[in-house]
Every structure is written in structure tokens, then in C-alpha cells.
Symmetry: C3
Subunit: 153 residues, 3 copies
């Protein structure tokens, strides 16, 4: 099943790629790698929630936000490469989680994104990952994700 079919089965419609918050592009290809810019949990132009893990945002909300940021990443990827069947591998997911000083469950939050990538890309979605707790994020977002995909034409 293609990633596009899998998205349909999951009931996910890819949004229009989010407008960058600064002077940069959402995605670019170098060799066989596509780098994506930092992705936020935006829906219809607004964050689905704001605040930090361990404060205003709980783990379930954070994981759900990470899932939405991952959907935005897939939208940016598709806008860049045209066809998600070109994805050979999700190489790297970096998850930045806005965290209260004592919050240490970043992996559970970023799993919201990793699960979606696995559901959409199957074996090709198995990626390396970092998850770190940061002081704060653009717009007050609880999570920001950064991806590298390997592509084959």
C-alpha cells in the first residue's frame, strides 16, 4: 500500500504546507536526502495547543501535537518530492519538546510522531531519533520536529 493510500486509510488529509515563520524554505533536497524545516503542530494556521509539557500540556496532548506536526512534515515532504512512494527511508527525527524543568518524558511525547511515521511508511518509516527538552519554542508551541528523509527516484 502506498503512503498516500495509507494516509487515506488513516483518515488523514494532508494540509497545505505551513507558511515558514521566517526567511527559509520548508524543504530542500541535497543528493538523496530531503531536509525539512522545523515543523509545528499547526492546524488551519494556528497551533493546536500551546504551553509546556509538565505545565499546561500533558503527555497525551503533547503526543497528539507531535502527531499533527508529523502530518505537516509529510505535507511539506510531498510538496517537495511530489510522490511519497519515492521515500526510501525516514532517516532522522529530531524532537524538541518545550519542557518544564522537571519534565523527563520527552520520548513519550515524540512517540506521537514516530507512531504516525511508522503507520504511514511501514518499514521505511523506521528512523533514528533524538528527543530533548527545550526551554521554549516559536509561538509557544509544545513541540517542534525536524526530519531528514532518504529518497530514491
Amino acid at each position: 500500500m502506498s503512503p498516500e493510500d495509507k494516509l487515506k486509510e488513516l483518515g488523514i488529509e494532508l494540509p497545505a504546507p505551513a507558511k515558514p515563520l521566517g526567511i527559509y524554505v520548508p524543504a530542500l533536497r541535497t543528493g538523496d536526502l530531503v531536509y525539512l524545516s522545523g515543523m509545528l503542530p499547526l492546524k488551519d494556521g494556528a497551533l493546536v495547543c500551546t504551553g509546556k509539557l509538565g505545565e499546561q500540556v500533558d503527555i497525551a496532548q503533547g503526543a497528539s501535537a507531535a502527531r499533527i506536526a508529523a502530518i505537516n512534515a509529510i505535507a511539506a515532504l510531498k510538496a517537495e518530492i511530489g510522490n511519497l512512494e519515492k521515500v526510501k527511508r525516514c532517516v532522522r527525527l529530531s524532537g524538541y519538546v518545550a519542557s518544564a524543568p522537571d519534565f523527563t518524558d520527552q520520548p513519550k511525547v515524540v512517540n506521537g510522531a514516530s507512531e504516525l511515521i511508522g503507520a504511514v511508511f511501514g518499514e521505511k518509516g523506521r528512523h533514528t531519533r533524538i528527543a530533548v527538552g527545550v526551554a521554549s519554542l516559536p509561538l509557544g508551541s509544545p513541540v517542534e520536529l525536524d526530519f531528514i528523509f532518504e529518497i530514491s527516484d
Copy 2:
């Protein structure tokens, strides 16, 4: 116009590459990619300002510091590749902004670097980017930047 000419037009003289703060090299090439180490807003061996965004450092100062860190990055890149006309693309800029807990304008700070890269490299300077707010940075720096460039010989 070459990046070197563009720097001259902007009145920017590249400094000697900053001495690493630890056991690492400022830049290295793997395949067609050049990775740079974390760049700080050092000038003549000292930070142009210290502190965090949302505390001692305002957005304009932070953006100016990011611009200086980007100039240091270009200096490290030139020391590695010899000639900036070899740059095919700025692939990635990661901007780490030392942030007070409630500061959420990291993109405006990192824009100080993105604007300079665009001014010097034109279309080839269009990059992907992340901007995150971190707890603190080496020497009390307000920003640290990390770049990947694609090179063609």
C-alpha cells in the same frame, strides 16, 4: 556576483576562524556536504553580547548576534573550502536561542542569520531551518548556529 564580492559590497570582512572551545574541528567535508561546528557571535575573541532573549537581550540585539555568528560560519566555511563560489546550496541552519522561559520569538532572532546568508549567497542561500529556545549556551552566548552547506567542485 560572487559571495566574496557580495561580502565586500556589504562591507563585511571575514574574521579569522574562531578557535574551537573544545576538542573538535570548526568544519569538515563528507561527500558534497560541509558540516560546521556550533558558531557563536564572537568578535575579536569575545561575545558581542551575553544573556538570554526575554531577559538581558532584546530581539534586535539577538538578531544582530545571529548575523555575527553567521559571518563567523562563512569564515569557517571559506577556511574549509577555499572559495565560496563552490557553495551550491545552504542546506540547513539550526538556530539555538538562549531563551527566558516565556520567550517565543526565536524565528525573529534567527532571521538575523538567514537574512545574511540570503544576502551573501542569493538563491543558493535559501535554506531549511529550525529555531528552538534552549536553557543556556556556552560562555553565556545568546545564540549558537549550526550549518550544513552543499558544495560542488
Copy 3:
């Protein structure tokens, strides 16, 4: 001397690779690059220390934790590529240091990892690096490291 012999000389026995804390793989190869997931200072399944630099953890403990995380990284790398003599270069080390708001000696902490990589891989261990202070890390770890290695078969 091979990296394996060097490890023996240093009295280092590589542990079994740590189990990922989420839905991801410890390492993967794309082209000539091997990406590793975030590595923690785990020993026999537990962190060697917890807390932040500038609070519960001092620089010497932090550097020692970074060294252990780097040993775990080498174990994950060896599990992926089989033979450490395939390493052509350590391309990148990203060091995330859980930091009290006023701690600014991240480079000294990450040096614990850089020294080990240099000791094991010699000239091939000379890498680019970032070191940033983050708000908190998984399980309360004081450091998390992320590596990219270049491989030749």
C-alpha cells in the same frame, strides 16, 4: 591500531546496545553516513547519574557521563556496521546538556565524549560539534549525544 584494539587498550568493553526508549532504531545507514539515535549515559540499563549541570551534577561527573554515552554510541555503531575499521570519519557530535539556567560550561562536559572519540578513532575521530544547554532530558539524564559517522566499505 584498530578502534577495537584501541578500546581493549583503554580497558573498555562495549556493552550490548541500549534498548530504544521509544519507537525508533538505534542506528541506520544512508549512503556513506550512519546516523545514531540520541545516546544516554546508561550502564547496565540505568543512568550513571541524573540531574542537571549547575545543580546536582558537576562538570567532572557530566564529562564522565558524556564519555559513557559515547561508549554506548560506539556500541550502537558497531552493532550497525559490524567492524569499526569501516569508520572513515566521525562527522558530527551534537551534545545536549541538561543545564541550570546559569550553567555555561557545556563544552567542558561534551569534551568527555570528544576525548573518547579521539582516543578510539585517532585522526578519524576529529569531528564537528555543537554543545547546547537544554531544559531537561529523557529519564532525567544530564547529557544526550547524537552522532553521524562516515563509513567506507
